[in-house]
Symmetry: C2
Subunit: 367 residues, 2 copies
């Protein structure tokens, strides 16, 4: 079999490259995916009750990148959804990130920007050398807020105590000094009006793009003659795990459809304390769908399963860098996306990286 | 590229063969389709309002074949829907096929089975040699019912006056002598509970089955090494139209979503008289979906577009037979399905034909 461009992986990065190269170079593209659907973990579908859900967890598009926003708006409109996240803390619900309202509810007293800043300054635990994620949190927000909001959540999310996680995991705790309850402050936010799956179908609708699904890269690797390869799968898999495996944190989902119109006050409610799950998503908030019933999804982070989150620690970073060095020997092959770059890319960055790689290919091969 | 079985066309016939051969022989199967979806014209999807619709027109599964029913029930449950069709005749709505209720409403008088039979006997126009579809209708139900219910519908459906259509088009007009309002009397009826697309996905979920979509047969014909080919595409296309083209009647659909729970009294309402469309489908009746809005689909038969209905006339039959003779020279290639057999197969027959071909392949190659 012959094609001009072989794209491995039909997630956002892969679909972006496929679309651009087919449109700009007029190339034939073969887009291969191990799974039977397009859009990777951003895919959505209607469940048996007719409610649009995201089977791989909530995906809210948000970006500051005008170029990415303009690009995707060629394939879909967006629904204007503004993401808000509640957290159930000490038996009550407050908005995240921590803002003045949150602080007033949790500490039972009024705050101004100034008094909230002073308050945090007094609670912070000075730590000379920040060596782990617990240190990060303690030095930024102090013991109480750390225990209430971050300790349990992080432990569930990563399966490790924050004290055993590198500082890069919590990195920077977002704090607000106003009453803005939005989760993201990016100027462009929303979900594709018809869903992510429809958006992705529109992206790769060109008759020059052929889809090969339910098919491993291994099955086509030596079988498909091509000029260029774009690989968006796991980087360690590409090299047959020659330098060892790069680990991921995965998710297990528990689904529930209720005979009521809504079940919670926001699209996502976090459970940072005793519950076994980390959060509950109610998709109708995200999609704006009107429906007499509603579907909820509880998330249980776990070690085994589909790869979701690269695990950030020095050993994994080093191993990734070694793999990255191997890629330099791969002629006419580009590595892009969360799995190939072993980096948790938000959707906008996956598209941005895809556009970058597509630009390189287009520049090189343009007649 | 290499596979054991190449299946061209991911409609019901193709998916049935793919499933059976992968399961029984453990073969690798490559399932190719020109379009980007599975299930051919039986495919369904949720529209932007979240209502499950069938973009290629209403598909109601009904069969007397217990084997086919048992086979499909391995992949889905069925929702128990019993199809009822209303027709808007002389400004009122009556059930089809013609039954005692219909007759009483249209003729403003009571009927028994016997008096209805007598009535029809008196109205029938004796025709010595039935030469066209108009003759068929006149000789079975007489002038009035023919004009009210069949003349306009047939003219819209086929773009020709019934007098210019072979007798095979109307063939036999179904008549009821009781008050049964069901459109089909098959013992097994319904729609897949999760829809046809979900049923088909379940059928071809095996990791041995690979999907190649948005790809013409021409693109893989000489590129994919295989032991057996199952071709479900248009038979004339397979032979490059060497003996001329086999014509099809097509459909254009007009969609409307209304802000009310239901809009009509049955899943399908036929319009056999002055309207330009033949029927309106309201999918919520078929699927049983609960939703505050409802989607309607008007059908306009037309000459150009996706192939739907083989046009039954002696010339086309003869041409098909000539193509069928050519297939005998094609080694290890099987032709099955509506387009390859140039025969309007109901869904149950498409599956039955698929099972038959799969059985032949399995018998021949079973170690």
């Amino acid at each position: 079999m012959k094609t001009d461009l072989l794209v491995v992986g039909a997630g956002l990065a892969g679909c972006t490259v496929a679309e651009r190269v087919a449109a700009e170079l007029g190339w034939d593209v073969l887009l291969v995916d191990r799974r039977s659907h397009l859009g990777g973990n951003a895919a959505d579908e209607f469940n048996e009750a007719g409610i649009l859900v995201q089977p791989f967890g909530p995906h809210i598009f948000h970006t500051r990148l005008a170029e990415v926003w303009a690009y995707l708006n060629r394939f879909t409109r967006f629904n204007g959804y503004i993401h808000r996240v509640l957290a159930r803390v000490n038996g009550t619900e407050v908005y995240l990130p921590l803002n003045l309202d949150t602080a007033e509810t949790l500490f039972h007293r009024p705050f101004t920007a100034e008094s909230w800043r002073d308050f945090l300054d007094r609670r912070r635990t000075p730590i000379a050398e920040v060596r782990n994620s617990r240190d990060v949190a303690l030095s930024q927000i102090g013991e109480e807020l750390y225990r209430w909001i971050f300790e349990g959540y992080t432990r569930k999310q990563w399966g490790l105590d924050p004290a055993d996680l590198g500082p890069e995991v919590l990195a920077r705790i977002p704090l607000r000094f106003d009453r803005d309850t939005r989760y993201f402050s990016d100027p462009f936010q929303g979900l594709p009006s018809g869903g992510y799956s429809a958006m992705v179908r529109a992206m790769i609708a060109s008759p020059r793009i052929h889809l090969l699904l339910q098919t491993d890269f291994a099955a086509v690797r030596s079988q498909v003659e091509r000029r260029v390869t774009v690989y968006t799968g796991p980087i360690d898999g590409y090299f047959d795990y020659a330098l060892g495996e790069l680990p991921y944190r995965s998710l297990r989902f528990e689904w529930q459809t209720l005979d009521r119109e809504y079940a919670q006050g926001a699209g996502v409610v976090n459970y940072p304390q005793q519950e076994a799950f980390t959060r509950i998503t109610e998709f109708k908030h995200l999609t704006g769908q009107r429906h007499p019933r509603t579907t909820l999804c509880r998330e249980y982070p776990c070690a085994e399963g589909e790869p979701y989150y690269p695990i950030p620690n020095p050993e994994n970073h080093r191993r990734y860098e070694e793999y990255a060095r191997l890629t330099e020997g791969e002629r006419d092959t580009f590595f892009v996306g969360r799995l190939a770059q072993y980096r948790y890319l938000n959707m906008d960055l996956a598209v941005a990286e895809g556009l970058k790689v597509a630009g390189t290919i287009i520049d090189r091969f343009r007649g």
